[in-house]
Symmetry: C2
Subunit: 193 residues, 2 copies
């Protein structure tokens, strides 16, 4: 039927909320079904397992993140501001996109190889985006870098490393300020004086 894909999306959107609230393990098929006013077994008509639903959820949220990131890049021409906005969106999205975040940091989930694949896919995308931002900055003379590929890798590594300390502790206040500080530090070595 034509509507099958539509309903798969409905499932993804609904399950996403439950996953983000309770995490993968604590979310039951029963709950996913109940939220949609369906019987549990009906869900299996659309997805063949809980993992498959979760994979679709993660894919969907990665897509949302990608969109937000490219919107941030398009929002300005100034390379410095652009990188600044990119970092902010990227770090803040990680808070919101908690499924994705959990998928990456939750030890329980390490055995799912699709997480690994997702991570790789995401990493490549991110490095490419950062490299683009850096390259544009170099071209316009704002940034001072020999090898944008290597630099993009370095920046991305730094961002990944910052995720944990940034969100594990005080989850609410000071994030903006701390991000600014981090970005400033990042810039000292990049921006041409």
């Amino acid at each position: 039927m034509v509507d099958k894909e539509k309903f798969r999306e409905k499932i993804v959107l609904s399950a996403s909320k439950i996953f983000s609230r309770y995490g993968f393990k604590k979310t039951t098929m029963e709950e996913i079904a109940r939220a949609l006013n369906k019987g549990k077994s009906s869900i299996y008509y659309y997805f063949k397992s809980k993992e498959e639903i979760f994979e679709a959820v993660v894919d969907h949220e990665a897509q949302v993140l990608r969109n937000e990131l490219s919107a941030a890049i398009k929002s300005t021409d100034d390379p410095e501001l652009r990188l600044r906005r990119y970092v902010k969106v990227r770090m803040k999205s990680f808070e919101k996109l908690s499924n994705y975040y959990n998928a990456i940091f939750n030890r329980d989930l390490d055995h799912f190889n699709f997480i690994e694949k997702q991570r790789e896919k995401y990493d490549l995308m991110e490095i490419a985006l950062i490299r683009y931002v850096l390259w544009m900055g170099v071209r316009s003379g704002h940034f001072n870098l020999e090898n944008t590929g290597l630099a993009a890798l370095a920046v991305q590594t730094a961002l990944k490393g910052l995720e944990l300390p940034l969100f594990w502790e005080k989850r609410n206040y000071g994030i903006d300020a701390r991000l600014d500080a981090i970005i400033d530090i990042l810039f000292y070595g990049i921006v041409r004086k």
Copy 2:
């Protein structure tokens, strides 16, 4: 030992956070124990079941609520402002004290009779508090009521009825404004013109 009661409190405080995040059913003894750096079975030295821990948590939070409510009442002498503050604290606390809230509204828990007892205890306390607030208002000529006992019951019933629509929907914004509106409506029939 003397410290046994102390450690029971530690368990209650710690378990409270986990319960409020995941609810009764989804919280495991394993998690409660892990959060305290103890073995799962050690917890059973202090509480004889998960239910008993939860009961202690609910008791504790009801106590917190009682304290906040009487602080609100003591915070002013003006009867109108006092009732206004009482309602605000009462409605907002319900958001925070989510264990208690869940205990009352979660259908899964209906079979625990201690919930019923807790509910009764709380209702009586609340009616007494409201009656006191109303009575003081009548005495000073601010309120216009024949029977404060009956009026207290009516106000309390109204508040209980408001809990659900108020918190089930948009859980964040407009609550303050909506509460004010509700309080205003409540006052039209109470405050002497």
